[in-house]
């Protein structure tokens, strides 16, 4: 693969921050004349920014439906490809002080359970899991993004929440995860595409190819992402 050059601007979902930063560094080692810069935010915000003319070469979303917003508006140059998946998980404090072992435990009214708002992907997944499990949960708060759920659980202000497996890994010793059984769980798919207005389409495609290479997938796996 010939080395690419120039600036590559990547707009990526906030949950990809750590993994993409490392992949960007590895990409620049392979392509010394290329310079990758990132804009991390909620996927939905990024779609709006791209629609308003923000200079992006690559868009990576945490949710298929948000990628659809980009393609529906005709703002993509390539068909989106799924490069990683992520599982939803229950996040609890270190040592699991409330002894939460299943999704059904979250129905306990004495617990402070917080979820993502239904407007953001992790909120949709949480609702789906409860539906699959046939459990009614009354959350105390509907957070605007997944990191806010993590923060409140790691601070000890909330007892449990539903986040991604990668978030639990990123929280390190400050939190623990309780896996959700596969039959009720949902899989979040992360699609990526070159944007229509890309000023460096060649570099953008090279970055996406790198993501799907063995090296890129290995870095993603180290942060808890699963292969598509």
């Amino acid at each position: 693969m010939p080395a690419v050059t120039g600036d590559v601007t990547v707009f990526a979902a906030a949950s990809l921050t750590a993994a993409f930063t490392e992949i960007g560094d590895a990409f620049m080692v392979e392509n010394p004349d290329a310079n990758v810069t990132f804009n991390f935010a909620a996927s939905s915000e990024l779609v709006t920014q791209i629609g308003e003319g923000a200079p992006a070469d690559v868009f990576a979303s945490a949710d298929l439906s948000i990628m659809t917003k980009l393609t529906d508006a005709g703002n993509n140059a390539t068909e989106p490809v799924v490069f990683a998946t992520n599982l939803a998980e229950i996040i609890v404090g270190p040592g699991n002080p409330k002894g939460i072992t299943s999704v059904a435990d979250l129905a306990n009214e004495d617990l402070i359970v917080i979820l993502c708002a239904p407007e953001v992907p992790c909120g949709k997944y949480a609702a789906k899991i409860f539906e699959n499990a046939g459990v009614a949960v009354t959350p105390k708060s509907l957070e605007e993004n997944v990191k806010a759920v993590v923060t409140k659980v790691t601070l000890g202000e909330a007892d449990a929440g539903i986040v991604y497996a990668t978030d639990v890994i990123a929280a390190g010793a400050d939190a623990e995860g309780v896996a959700t059984p596969a039959d009720i769980n949902v899989v979040a798919e992360y699609p990526i595409a070159v944007t229509k207005e890309a000023s460096n389409a060649e570099g953008a495609q090279a970055f996406i190819d790198f993501m799907n290479s063995e090296q890129g997938q290995k870095i993603l796996a180290s942060y808890g992402f699963l292969a598509p």
């Binding site: 909620a42 402070i112 708002a117 407007e119 959350p139 105390k140 509907l142 202000e157 909330a158």
Partner: protein, 281 residues
């Protein structure tokens, strides 16, 4: 009373500004007006009523009004004595205390929310005892919204009232005291009327700040319709899925604040620049 009717004095008087000053002032006006015009330009007017009449919007608006008024009330009750202390009492470290009490104005909002957790949350310095002794958990409640709003809004009132108290002619208080009035009577009948315009201005500023509060609220109080989801939170979340609705809700919030600011300005703000002794008279 006749004095009050003559509000807006100076209007229509011919003043000539140096051209560069005028030009810069106009740039400033355009700078503020343009984003608002942008919102109006993008607003989906045909669907506006549909979005405004939704239950969620009304619930959020009601909660915003109730909480911001509580926050304003608390800011007055605690902020006026604080301003008085800062303006009148010489004590070591006064500058530090003043900076401390206005720090929340410059604190990044989310940090403000996290700091409130550390103080009043379930694991907080004080919060852990509230939780243990009284079974009282503040985060994720409407009370938490009021606390977050008061935390960021009160400094606006304190600063305004303090500067007014500093300009106040102390001899008026002395005169009142010499004439046999008690300390409390002097405070109520001489000091308070003199600082009333500043108090009103400060209260309105604090209210406007409380109404628009976002970061500390969503962090410390969370976001739940009916208990903690105020208008700014509802606007932010609807931006995720329905930008049209977000614009309409934001415009409603802006319209209300605008009406209050314009309405109150004529009534109170215009009198601030007058010498305090005239107001007191």
């Amino acid at each position: 009373m006749s004095r009050r009717r003559r509000r807006g004095r100076g209007r229509g008087r011919r003043v000539s500004l140096p051209a560069p000053v005028l030009a810069l002032a106009i740039v400033a006006v355009v700078f503020f007006a343009l984003p608002l015009i942008g919102l109006l330009w993008r607003a989906p007017w045909s669907n506006a009523w549909h979005y405004l009449s939704g239950d969620d919007a009304l619930t959020a608006l009601r909660l915003s009004m109730v909480c911001s008024l509580w926050a304003t009330g608390l800011s007055v009750v605690f902020g006026v004595p604080l301003a008085w202390l800062l303006a009148r009492v010489e004590f070591p470290g006064r500058g530090v205390v003043r900076a401390l009490c206005t720090l929340s104005m410059v604190l990044p909002p989310v940090v403000g929310g996290v700091a409130l957790f550390f103080a009043l949350g379930r694991r907080g310095i004080v919060g852990q005892y509230l939780d243990r002794w009284f079974d009282l958990t503040l985060p994720f409640t409407t009370t938490a919204v009021v606390i977050a709003q008061t935390f960021v809004a009160m400094p606006f009132l304190v600063i305004t009232v303090e500067s007014s108290l500093r300009q106040f002619d102390l001899r008026l208080e002395d005169a009142s005291r010499t004439l046999g009035a008690s300390r409390w009577y002097t405070f109520r009948r001489v000091t308070m009327p003199a600082i009333r315009p500043a108090l009103a201005a400060g209260a309105v500023l604090a209210w406007a700040r409380a109404l628009g509060e976002f970061g500390a609220t969503i962090t410390f109080a969370g976001n739940f319709p009916g208990t903690t989801q105020t208008m700014p939170l509802a606007v932010y979340l609807s931006l995720e899925t329905n930008p049209e609705e977000a614009i309409v809700l934001a415009l409603l919030l802006i319209a209300i604040s605008f009406a209050v600011l314009v309405g109150l300005r004529d009534r109170w703000f215009g009198r601030i620049d007058r010498p305090m002794s005239t107001v007191a008279a």
